[in-house]
Symmetry: C3
Subunit: 150 residues, 3 copies
């Protein structure tokens, strides 16, 4: 796998400020959290599991599938309070290797949303500085959310 | 693959009582059905297709992907009336191997919902006795459902 | 891989007329577009990346995963105006090999919906002449869509 600049590879959604508006009973909730995605280093949270050349295919190749169990924190610093995990997968789904399709759950394990989940699906064209994903559903506190983005 | 206790391995969502509330035009529908998931035995309905060590990686390893075409029945007994199939996939998405991310359709093939589908996405932390998944959408009878859980 | 009739294999959703009704603030939007899916030929837009026998498993086998970056056009002709890409994946999820589970984004890159996306999930039993999929969410113009089908 190609590791740019260092063996510490905060690939794709590291410390991405995720803003979330839940239109819940005509009430709007704004929520910020940070997902840290590491494909290498001491705290690997994502691994390649399939691709055109098998499980070891580069994440930058069209078709590669990555399994994730990323820490979700309250602040942009990985050492800030851990409030959940982002569990699921993404697949490199752009012919030039510059886009991902994300499918995962945010599982809140601490803080006021503890026990609730958000279901995420969306295109992550990581050459763009700002991206917007869809929250397709949720459980617990987020059971009735819809029309939300982050 | 590790097969606990027997060669008959009703893995993860076997006979899980699935309760479903569809808030359909302000009307609530409660629906129960049972999904039977067999990774071995005479009636295999799920196979591993990718993972860190290739298609044969254990379902209990982080990253393993399983394709499913599970029977859906009216009652908890596999021999009760077959009313549909659960088709799609899940991926082991917890670093310790104890959690799945589910993505599949419930395709009703009999009963009053015949011809309709439900789209499911959610975290299945199978160490927990009760789990809640999201119904993200549906077709036919379930075209307008939202805010539903099961 | 089995290629029926020719080396040009417009497999599964080629030129499928996709109709879309967005119930957006009680207003209905009807939208038609065409997704062209090529697993072989000069303009390959989809590749197999995992399956029971590895990345080269036939798309017609239960369990095979296909990554897609398909052109989306305004008309049924591949040479009509390109308005977006369908990026994501599908998995063969029927034991007899005759059904797919689709998970992808429609990313509009031109036309009046440029910059918006639709998130699709659904069963594609391709032996049926007409199929209906769920739009589970969207961004931009489609941020508030729900209860939609295509």
């Amino acid at each position: 796998m190609y590791i740019p600049n260092s063996s510490f590879f905060p690939l794709i959604i590291v410390a991405l400020p995720l803003l979330y508006w839940a239109f819940n009973f005509r009430k709007q909730t704004k929520l910020a959290f940070y997902v840290h995605d590491y494909l290498s280093g001491h705290d690997i949270s994502a691994i390649t599991v399939a691709g055109k050349d098998g499980p070891q295919t580069s994440v930058l190749s069209f078709g590669t599938i990555i399994a994730v169990d990323d820490p979700v924190t309250e602040g942009p610093d990985l050492n800030s309070k851990l409030i959940g995990r982002a569990q699921g997968m993404y697949i490199n789904s752009q012919l030039d290797g510059k886009g991902l399709h994300l499918m995962f759950s945010i599982i809140f394990t601490d803080g006021i949303y503890k026990g609730s989940t958000l279901e995420i699906q969306g295109a992550d064209l990581f050459a763009m500085k700002e991206r917007e994903f869809s929250i397709v559903s949720g459980t617990g506190y987020f059971r009735f959310v819809r029309g939300e983005q982050f």
